[in-house]
Symmetry: C2
Subunit: 591 residues, 2 copies
């Protein structure tokens, strides 16, 4: 670390506020206070391109902009709060908060059971308070980590969060800085970790004024969102610092336990030290300082183990990685879908490979990508990977936002759940999945720029042309699209209640069965799937062993265990207590 790396933003303490903003190529930057009084303060530039001023007699709630080169006035790119939305003044925030989570030490990575949710559509409250209200419900379910889709300030009040433009500001409509802290504090006191989804690969298309300050973008690389953020070109240290400090802020000031980093493959960095490696080094220091486990989990569409290999093996050292291929493999087999990226999947052998080798495409040709893709995962433990049968993307990026409940039988839904929960990977559930929610989860926005609204709608149409969806789909900008996506909380119907009991039971088994505790790479044996369409895995831990039999047939199958010793059946998904048709029947998992 050197002078190029330092916290940015507005730092309030005891009636004083210190302002720091990076604008290395600008001639002048001034602080424009707009509320509760109006005044302009000069800032001083240092050699590293940071402008600074300390202002006395400040009250939290003070609103401000920066005037750049005497021309435009812009919000603070490191603003903590945008009370009037993305286009208006930033707000000074007091980080003081009455934490009661002192005894919280975090949960080991491989023990996480993650529940992904979207703050706006999780409850009718549409905010963090709504999540706090459901905390006991989540404890009962048995999960121990909530993953919150991005909450950095975005335009309007309806957005998945990936259009955020103020990485440091907590969405005002969700409850802002204090709302988020209350949520984290409540979760920790109930034994639940908080994982925050952060987006360091792009900024949203509306309300981001970073480029008015500095070279936040480079033309060297393109991403799906246009010119890449500048992680490796001239002036990149200011951009790297911007996101690095952001990560440290969530983990430190907000007591966040882990960051789920969106689309890390689109953080394009050709420098000698990849940004995520730098990030990991600094997070490790923070971990030491706080005495709490802090994890970096990458969404990564590269199948390149370098990202998760330890730094001792020349890796970047990230703790964990999402595995979309596990999802694709089971989704394609269970639904029979072959459109879009599912064209690369569809065989049970790929489900088998997703269990054994983690990466399905590990140096073989991908018809969908039209290239050889990936490399072998190497010696990384199963406990480093996050898997799911549903998540926001694979529901929401369907034209009709339909969940598996619209496609699969009740028995198949249980099979999907068990494939995830009984895998040696870290399981992730998407909100509502646990009780068989039938409401869709659409893609939705609330941009204010009409041209952008049109562009987004057209973009979605184009995206779906990949798939064979023939029907109209709801406009992302329509409020009703958002309303329809809110969870129904219809959990008392017969099937819903049974599904919830089922999830509770298998989560409980995952937590307590000794054989399932080992996540080392040699702790699982996967028996080759043959024509009988039954996948058997054996999980081992010391002397203990468990066979898990996944029957992918529509009908009942005779099956002989590949075990030489005798076994006890301890669980059957088709049992009546899980609303099944009776024990050992088709599309069944048995433990």
């Amino acid at each position: 670390m050197n002078e190029l790396y330092r916290p940015v933003g507005a730092f309030y303490k005891e009636d004083t506020c210190h302002f720091v903003v990076w604008a290395p190529k600008k001639e002048s930057v001034e602080l424009v206070v707009t509320h509760p009084y109006q005044k302009i303060y000069p800032l001083q530039k240092d050699d590293a391109g940071y402008w600074q001023a300390t202002v006395e007699n400040v009250t939290p709630g003070l609103r401000y902009l920066y005037r750049i080169d005497g021309e435009m006035q812009r919000p603070d790119p490191a603003s903590l709060s945008q009370p009037e939305g993305v286009h208006k003044a930033s707000e000074v925030i007091d980080h003081n908060f009455s934490w009661t989570d002192d005894s919280w030490k975090g949960i080991p990575l491989e023990d996480l059971i993650i529940y992904e949710l979207h703050t706006g559509t999780f409850t009718q409250n549409h905010n963090f308070e709504g999540i706090i209200n459901k905390m006991d419900y989540l404890v009962e379910l048995g999960i121990n980590a909530i993953e919150i889709m991005p909450i950095a300030q975005f335009p309007g009040s309806r957005n998945w969060g990936y259009d955020g433009v103020y990485p440091y500001a907590v969405q005002n409509s969700y409850g802002g800085v204090n709302g988020l802290k209350r949520l984290v504090n409540a979760a920790h006191t109930k034994g639940i970790a908080i994982i925050l989804d952060v987006v360091y690969n792009h900024l949203g298309p509306e309300g981001g004024y970073q480029s008015d300050y500095a070279p936040y973008y480079t033309q060297r690389h393109k991403t799906p969102w246009g010119n890449a953020l500048n992680f490796d070109d001239a002036y990149s240290d200011g951009v790297r610092n911007y996101f690095l400090q952001n990560a440290l802020m969530w983990l430190d000031k907000f007591h966040i336990d882990a960051l789920r980093m969106d689309a890390v493959h689109a953080i394009v960095d050709y420098g000698a030290k990849h940004f995520v490696q730098l990030l990991k080094e600094e997070v490790a220091k923070l971990e030491k300082k706080t005495g709490r486990k802090k994890f970096l989990i990458a969404e990564l569409d590269l199948n390149n183990p370098r990202y998760i290999n330890p730094q001792s093996k020349s890796g970047y050292g990230l703790d964990s990685q999402w595995i979309d291929e596990f999802h694709h493999a089971i989704h394609a087999v269970l639904t029979g879908e072959t459109d879009g990226y599912y064209e690369d999947f569809g065989s049970l052998q790929q489900v088998e490979k997703a269990f054994t080798d983690t990466y399905v495409y590990d140096g073989i040709y991908s018809p969908h990508r039209k290239k050889i893709f990936g490399a072998p995962v190497g010696n990384n433990d199963y406990g480093k990977f996050v898997v799911f049968s549903q998540n926001h993307d694979h529901i929401g990026n369907r034209a009709l936002g339909d969940r598996l409940t619209q496609t699969l039988s009740f028995e198949a839904l249980k099979l999907a759940a068990a494939l995830v929960i009984f895998s040696p990977y870290i399981p992730l559930l998407f909100m509502g999945e646990e009780y068989g929610e039938k409401n869709p989860f659409f893609y939705f926005t609330s941009h204010s720029d009409p041209d952008l609204v049109n562009a987004v709608t057209e973009g979605r149409k184009k995206e779906f042309s990949y798939f064979s969806f023939k029907y109209d789909f709801p406009g992302p900008q329509e409020e009703d699209t958002y309303r329809q996506s809110v969870l129904s909380w219809n959990i008392n119907g017969n099937e819903h209640a049974a599904m919830f009991r089922f999830y509770k039971a298998i989560i409980q088994l995952r937590k307590t069965l000794i054989a399932l505790q080992n996540k080392e790479r040699d702790s699982m044996k996967v028996y080759p799937v043959n024509d009988n369409k039954v996948l058997t895995i054996e999980r081992k831990n010391g002397e203990e062993s468990a066979f898990i039999i996944f029957n992918f047939n529509e009908e009942k199958k005779d099956y002989t265990l590949p075990a030489e010793t005798s076994c006890n059946k301890i669980f059957d998904s088709s049992a009546a207590q899980w609303n099944g048709p009776g024990e050992v029947t088709p599309l069944t998992i048995n433990v």
Copy 2:
């Protein structure tokens, strides 16, 4: 390797020729024979997108084009010969050649002493034959490797070679395929290795028709030459194969000993297996097959040791790397220049660091790049790095193409030479340097497209705006610019002859002094430079030790050796026999 990877081009054997060309998205590709008869043959496409045909009764010299989708006719992108230049028909070549280098086994990498030359301007012959004529001269000098600037077919007859557009074709004006083979054969029989400079990061701006066949380029990354070649996007395997097979061809069919890969940093590959790693794996197989050492040497402006770290340490495994920073460090100190990239250099401490740590910018801020640059070189031996005090770039990319002979005193020139030759790195000389050539080495072209000619000239002007060159410089397209760049071979004048003797002597010392043979990272001690501007290095090998004292002063310096034991002086650059002013005088190196 799989079916996506296979040789491409026209393969002649016993009156039959097999044609293979990659065009995965085309509907039809036909072979159009234009000479000695005219006929059109259909080609058959396979699943991997390769089109093939076998034609009987072919004589070498047959000329052909491909007709794509019934529309345009284009030369073969893997053509071995373009007898009428880049825009006309390709020619079938018989690879049969009477090699007499059977006993040649190659030279260990760290023992190489490289002489870089440009075929067109090395002699008044302007071709390979001219190089063969100078072979005994080069043997006398003591070098053991010739590095040939790129010879892939380029537009016209005057070009550095980096505008090549047929990577497989040997420039017709240089002597074509057989001319190059004769050169390699002659070199090997004299104990000299041949290193070929190859360009896999871009194709030249005129006469390259690759894009008419297939997606050779991607919009994902930009290089200084525009859209990057497609090493990681859809269809990239065909492009990777194109360059991979090219490398294997030179090393196998042409008996080339090593490839100097131009600007490897601009081979932008974000895939899980970097192209150069794939290349290294395949070259290692060839090395085994042929029983001859084959090296990959990267020009690499990243200071990222991953490229040269062994594959066992998750590196890409390249054998060697050019170190421009060594050049910059000594150039800036000796000339006092501070323009352009020299703004990052200028202190003797940087020369010292270039000796100790190889990478000068190894994770520190570069004012010129405006970012933190590089990472430490790690445990890679000195013998993996190529250094020089001059090369084609650092002469030719100066507006006036002036060599150090125009700037430095005779004594300083000897100092520069000794810094390179007595370093533990692999030394590289640029043609003419060894006798103090005074002719410039300009940048020159012979494009046929007038718009391109203007663009190149304007581009050069823009490049030089970085530097403070105030004067007009010769137009790259002028034939006279080329003529002036040809070596004078004026080696009989007093200073020229002394310089040649000096180079001969220090090369001889490098080869024979036991203390200089060790290239391990702990074999050299560099004594800190202080105000006396004297750099002392101690080279060690077992019991043997040698001190080399580089005096950067303009005047004589008193100096005490940092040695506890007694030493013998065995060499003094200021001695009268090297036309020096007398022993132990200013700007002197002593061994």
